[in-house]
Symmetry: C2
Subunit: 336 residues, 2 copies
């Protein structure tokens, strides 16, 4: 009998969950909250504007490890998507980014004030989604969500501070991407685990899986920005180089470069404001000379391996973890 | 025995609560959350920069109507103060206000990006304060808080939209100040009632008390800006007139003005950009001619009376409501 019940566990694929999430967004957020239009229209605009829905999918996939009944977790899962888009909305103001997913950002399409206020409302809407959390785990879910959300702000603060610093160390960089990117993925997984009824140990293992996966994800992002294929990546290659962004690649290059290479790198990054094309070409060449591409790959794989090890340690049948494994592998084998 | 217990109810005064709240802020928020300093310093700056602490006081006073044991509600009460200051921080960016409580605003002292991000972190810190809510009322408190917070954003949106509109009606104005100002006062009272163990009816009556009091409070604010005494008010008189702000006074004046007075008012408000002193003087004279000061006072008293009626209806001994009554009277008899 136990055996029979075990085999009945239905593991949803990412694509199935994607559809559930998109429907949930439509029903929950696009239809409600209509007035004032000036506040809610930008929110619908950014939520409708694509996005991979990774975070709510992670919530539901983690919950699915422990229970079949995940449909009533869709609303709390949406909180992670809404919160994520809120941070994007405000980050885009701070970075003055003109485009997001190929479309004008909210502060470009409307204005800064609208983007600030609609963002604020989105943060609250995320919390409203979480009101649909079952009472017995509500305080625990809120605790993880609040902790995670604050970490994301801390990460963004470090990221902004790095812009005007030339002495960012690799450990500082890793802390920053952990906070800014990995925490929300890890928080999503932990919230999912708690919703699904996991014990503390399993929930923490999924959190650690998320942290390691998130760091691997971001290192991959840094690599793609320089070494990616424009046709697949869909974005201008070398953007980070042009903006002197303190990525894994650049920090590592400064760690390893010596003599004339170091001088040239400094010249290219801190001095040379013109000739973007030449700058991208030459910095990329230096990266390759220093084998940064290989080091980057190695480092990413290390975090990925750690992530997989954490996932393996979760006390659940191996075959139930397949969907999460597939998604994790997509994260680091992607070319866009 | 019941009689004895009844007489033991200790009603805290506003000043007593003010001290509890200030201590709570010190212990809870000034000492924790130190890194990154660039994120948390502006938060401590705005929280330390005075403020009347009305909202957390209302939480505790409402709770105190129903229980003596209010000390463990201090942390959730702080959420209302932190959230209020978060809205001020972001409002000041949107309005580009240079000063707040006589000191440079956060975006002036630091910059816009810092003010956006520190504000975001404050919103989350408010939610962290609410984690200290007793489990049995946590979902209900969160429901009121989320609802209230979203209304505040809606109010700010209308307020911004009114800046570029010349046809704002009085009912629209009243909706705006209800959302922007009254909802948070009402929400504070309702949250306090729920914390204190009030039943739904009493909690709703205290909410209605707050809505009416909040509207009276804002109408008083509008009056003081034009008819106040600079020495007591501490701010430049006539600021709203200079900025063509759609206040109760201006909207009412446009409702009542006819013929040449209407023409002159339009000329002063929409056309004349120079001669600020003359503008303030002449618009104030027109307000007096139209008896706007008296109408304003009458309207404020109407809302105040409604508020008092709601408070009276709360099913609690009359003498326990004295502290709330004193505070409410201070709201409308203030000269600053």
């Amino acid at each position: 009998m136990i055996f029979f019940q075990k085999s009945k566990r239905i593991m949803r694929t990412f694509n199935e969950l994607y559809k559930l999430i998109d429907n949930g967004l439509k029903n929950e957020l696009y239809q409600n909250n209509t007035e004032p239009e000036g506040l809610y229209k930008p929110i619908k605009y950014i939520l409708r504007n694509g996005g991979k829905r990774i975070r709510p999918a992670l919530v539901l996939m983690a919950a699915n490890l422990f229970t079949n009944k995940i449909d009533h977790f869709i609303k709390p899962a949406l909180a992670l998507e809404v919160f994520h888009n809120f941070t994007l909305l405000h980050d885009d103001i701070m970075d003055d980014s003109p485009l997001r997913r190929g479309k004008p950002t909210v502060h470009t399409e409307w204005n800064n004030n609208t983007a600030i206020l609609s963002g604020d409302a989105m943060a609250i809407l995320a919390y409203q989604c979480l009101e649909h959390t079952p009472t017995e785990v509500y305080p625990q879910v809120m605790n993880v969500f609040n902790h995670t959300s604050l970490k994301v702000c801390e990460g963004q603060q470090y990221d902004m501070e790095f812009e005007t610093r030339q002495d960012v160390r690799l450990d500082e960089y890793l802390t920053m991407i952990r906070l800014k990117t990995a925490e929300l993925l890890a928080g999503s997984l932990k919230i999912g685990a708690v919703l699904g009824g996991a014990d503390g140990k399993n929930a923490d293992l999924l959190y650690d899986f998320g942290i390691n996966l998130g760091i691997a994800f971001q290192i991959k992002d840094d690599c793609l920005d320089t070494f990616g294929d424009f046709k697949k990546f869909g974005k201008r290659i070398g953007n980070d180089i042009i903006e002197n962004k303190k990525t894994f690649l650049l920090i590592k290059a400064f760690e390893l470069a010596k003599g004339t290479i170091l001088e040239e790198l400094k010249e290219l990054i801190f001095v040379n404001q013109s000739k973007q094309e030449y700058k991208v070409k030459r910095v990329t060449e230096i990266f390759r000379e220093l084998k940064i591409d290989e080091i980057c790959d190695k480092e990413m794989n290390l975090y990925f391996k750690n992530a997989m090890h954490k996932l393996e340690s979760v006390d659940i049948d191996k075959e139930k973890k397949i969907e999460l494994e597939i998604l994790a592998k997509k994260f680091i084998h992607r070319d866009k």
